[in-house]
């Protein structure tokens, strides 16, 4: 952080959608800066009304290109759109190459769009710790829709459902047979399935497998995840994809599920924050505990096993209060 950017974050400029103010506020959130704490507490009451649409799926399926096409579609309807695109941080250097912006080709003078790249910074599950709170700031800045692109996901990366009101799982033809679609994790969180690169052969087979999966599935209170075919090379299916997102949002409204889903997400957020604190404190204290060092010596020497060592450490800590 360079000189002129320290200090309180300008709420008025954030409300007005000032790019410099928004950019800095998001960094402050990412860095755990005290000024972000004050800002988020002050603005929370104004949030919770926008759609947050998550796009997840394996790397290389075209999430960034798809989002770029959707942004163009939504701008055509006069909607203001913000994008948060997450890429992984290196577990070795902590560094990151954030490359999703390459696909983003809005004109530089389009004021109805904001694009922010974000490194995962060690968070598991496909999004960053700061993603949800950054989305709140963007909502206060007046964006109508917030699109979140996850890290290229593996089968267990499902954290997007703790942020997004609608989760789109993006796939491509030939990712495997229909048994893959039965596996737990990624396929379970889809409110909408998107088969991208539908210009490639095999798209119809992929759609059939997914439609079958959706039909087999325990119907989630009246919603069957639709399957939409899209292509950004020979542009097709983009309006249909957004219609599917809107249909899901309308369903949340109609069925009365929205407050219940929001409550679940917020409970997870609060408990998660407390857990992070407790975890950090406990880890620090345990690592300094001489009892740990003593037990560790015995475990390394194969005199005590790790389970017994953990039990003893837990017991002595409890006894000490």
């Amino acid at each position: 952080m360079t000189g002129e950017r320290r200090g309180a974050l300008p709420v008025r400029q954030i409300r007005a959608g000032d790019r410099r103010a928004l950019g800095r506020a998001i960094s402050a959130i990412e860095n755990g800066a005290p000024e972000a704490d004050a800002l988020l507490k002050a603005l929370y009451r104004e949030t919770g009304r926008v759609r947050i649409v998550g796009f997840t799926g394996p790397l290389g399926v075209g999430k960034s290109s798809l989002i770029n096409a959707l942004v163009a579609h939504l701008r055509g309807q006069g909607r203001r759109v913000a994008v948060i695109a997450v890429d992984p941080s290196s577990p070795f250097s902590g560094g990151s190459v954030l490359g999703d912006r390459i696909r983003f080709d809005r004109p530089a003078d389009d004021d109805g769009v904001f694009f922010r790249s974000m490194a995962s910074r060690g968070a598991a599950g496909g999004v960053a710790a700061a993603t949800r709170e950054a989305a709140r700031i963007l909502e206060v800045a007046g964006f109508d829709d917030i699109l979140v692109e996850t890290v290229g996901s593996g089968q267990v990366d499902t954290a997007i459902r703790d942020i997004a009101t609608t989760s789109v799982v993006v796939l491509v033809p030939h990712l495997g047979d229909e048994v893959q679609t039965l596996k737990a994790g990624l396929f379970e969180i889809a409110d909408v399935f998107c088969v991208n690169k539908a210009d490639l052969p095999g798209a119809d087979a992929a759609r059939r497998d997914l439609v079958e999966l959706a039909a087999l599935g325990t119907e989630r209170g009246g919603w069957r995840s639709p399957v939409v075919l899209t292509s950004t090379v020979e542009p097709s299916g983009i309006p249909a994809l957004w219609e599917a997102v809107e249909a899901h949002e309308a369903y949340l409204e109609r069925s009365g599920r929205r407050p219940e889903a929001e409550r679940r997400r917020l409970a997870k957020e609060i408990v998660g924050r407390v857990r992070d604190h407790v975890d950090a404190e406990l880890t620090e204290r345990l690592e300094r505990d001489p009892e740990l060092r003593r037990l560790l010596d015995q475990v390394v020497a194969r005199e005590v096993d790790p389970r017994t060592a953990a039990e003893r450490l837990h017991r002595t800590r409890r006894a000490r209060g």
Binding site: S93, G94, L98
Partner: protein
């Protein structure tokens, strides 16, 4: 209640302004900066100065690296610097790499480009300079 990050990583934008399809150097530098622990926003090819400045502001970078091999640096770099000032982002340091004649390099430095690397520059040198420019007091 905030969990304070140990150390905020440096954020740097790497972009190629103008009509120039040679991005190998930019990619090599992006990777070296990543390995040095930086968050590198890679904006890629054929960026206008307006797009570069917009990206720098939205991404709130600490540093901008411009790569150019087309010869248009005397037109494009000063434009980036001027636009940064206009967006109240004139405090973001800009460095550059590419084929830039000595005389041009002198003038660009005077105009406010903080460092210029030619074909002979080592990655170590580039990384060290980037760290120094991004965190002058560190």
């Amino acid at each position: 209640m905030t969990v304070r990050a140990k150390k905020a990583p440096v954020r740097v934008l790497i972009a190629k302004p103008g009509l120039d399809g040679h991005d190998r150097g930019a990619k090599v530098v992006a990777r070296a900066l990543r390995d040095a622990g930086m968050e590198v926003v890679y904006a890629g090819l054929r960026q206008t100065p307006e797009e570069i400045v917009r990206a720098a502001v939205e991404e709130d970078v600490d540093l901008i690296g411009l790569s150019i091999l087309s010869g248009a640096h005397m037109a494009l770099f000063p434009r980036v610097l001027a636009l940064l000032k206009k967006e109240k982002a004139g405090n973001i340091p800009v460095f550059a790499g590419g084929i830039i004649p000595d005389e041009d390099a002198r003038r660009l430095r005077k105009a406010g480009i903080r460092a210029i690397f030619g074909p002979g520059a080592s990655l170590e040198e580039i990384v060290r300079t980037a760290q120094r420019l991004a965190r002058p007091r560190a």
